[in-house]
Symmetry: C2
Subunit: 234 residues, 2 copies
């Protein structure tokens, strides 16, 4: 039998994985700024310096939780239509769209992740694999590497650099502020006044992030599709 049989009362031992999972949970619960070495250790019932036995430093922890997040993206992706390949010339955009929205679904559960991703270089293998899948779909649709490359850049910011954008709280700004804005930003003020109350049933205050996200994504995908057709005709 393993050494676990003789175990008496020690707490479950620290591992790299347990630390990273706890870090992710802590950031989910209390936000990225609450992810300190001492708080993390505390949530594991351990002293801060004990963590350094399993991870070299905090940067490694940040890299680790990003990796962990993209592992989640991968399982999310294979949960969907992983069977056939609907990525022919016609359907590539739908397939890419689905992958990206899937990644977004995961990132919405870990709002700190995009922040961490673009604060550091952070090219984790799982993230690379995710991008690779998208390249594969576009490649199957017959797109050139050059077009794919540009498209990745165009789309890239949108996924990984995705941030909460305006109005986290989902409520209108302090009432006085809008009419004050009217004086020096009249166009913007007019727009906000009209748009603000259009669809109160949307998920979040005046700007439904999901709607906005898909609007931008579709603009890009449509544009890329037209470039693909042009390229294929040549």
């Amino acid at each position: 039998m393993g050494p676990r049989a003789a175990e008496t009362r020690t707490r479950t031992p620290l591992t790299r994985e347990r630390v990273l999972q706890a870090a992710s949970d802590l950031a989910d619960r209390d936000g990225l700024e609450a992810l300190t070495m001492r708080a993390l250790a505390d949530s594991l019932g351990v002293e801060a310096m004990s963590i350094y036995y399993h991870l070299p430093n905090k940067d490694a922890i940040l890299d680790g939780v990003v990796e962990l997040t993209f592992a989640e993206v991968a399982t999310e992706a294979q949960g969907q239509g992983a069977g056939g390949s609907p990525a022919d010339a016609a359907g590539w955009a739908a397939a890419v769209r689905e992958r990206i929205l899937g990644a977004r679904r995961v990132l919405l559960r870990h709002p700190w992740a995009p922040v961490v991703i673009d604060q550091r270089k952070s090219f984790s293998p799982a993230m690379v694999r995710h991008v690779d899948g998208i390249v594969g779909i576009m490649r199957e649709a017959g797109m050139s590497h050059d077009l794919i490359h540009h498209s990745l850049h165009a789309i890239g910011n949108r996924i990984y650099g995705y941030v909460q954008e305006l109005s986290d709280d989902g409520q209108a700004p302090p009432p006085g502020q809008l009419e004050q804005m009217q004086s020096f930003a009249p166009n913007l003020a007019a727009m906000l006044a009209e748009v603000a109350h259009v669809d109160p049933e949307s998920t979040l205050g005046w700007c439904d992030d999901q709607v906005e996200f898909e609007f931008g994504l579709d603009l890009l995908l449509e544009g890329i599709e037209r470039r693909r057709v042009t390229e294929a005709a040549a």
Copy 2:
């Protein structure tokens, strides 16, 4: 005469503006992480706590430098064709494009600015004015507030959330890494292998950020233009 005439030998006095300018310079020179209260004070020939007489705290400084950056954007914009309004139904996209590229030119001189902008809420008046100008152009082209609103979201990330993206150093990754990637990200590796050596005369290593940026921007602008035509036809 003013009190300046009687001045003997004191150093030039601290002001809010001088502090903010020094902060911007320091971040330009040594990076955002080097912008600490003590280092900032040092660059002003002063002790850290003296700054607090002119600014309430570090957040105010960060807000201030963003404001200062967008003031630069404003002067850059009025340097260009501020005379007539070429923002009719046909030319709105070109006008918006020019504004955004102008903002980008400034932000490239202050690479820390986008980071600061989306770390905090940071809706500085100058930034609001900049957005307002874009709304005005689109409005003149007859677009609905709804379409403008969505378009702002689509474009927004691209400007303010703009980050350096991959390969800051502008060089290819460590040579071994690419063929290692080949095993678990073959599509990506293939693309990189082909794209990497295409245009060595471009400004920065393998990914010319300016080209990529304009590619994405044009995709969005074209898509928005088609939505505008559809909307105008209704």
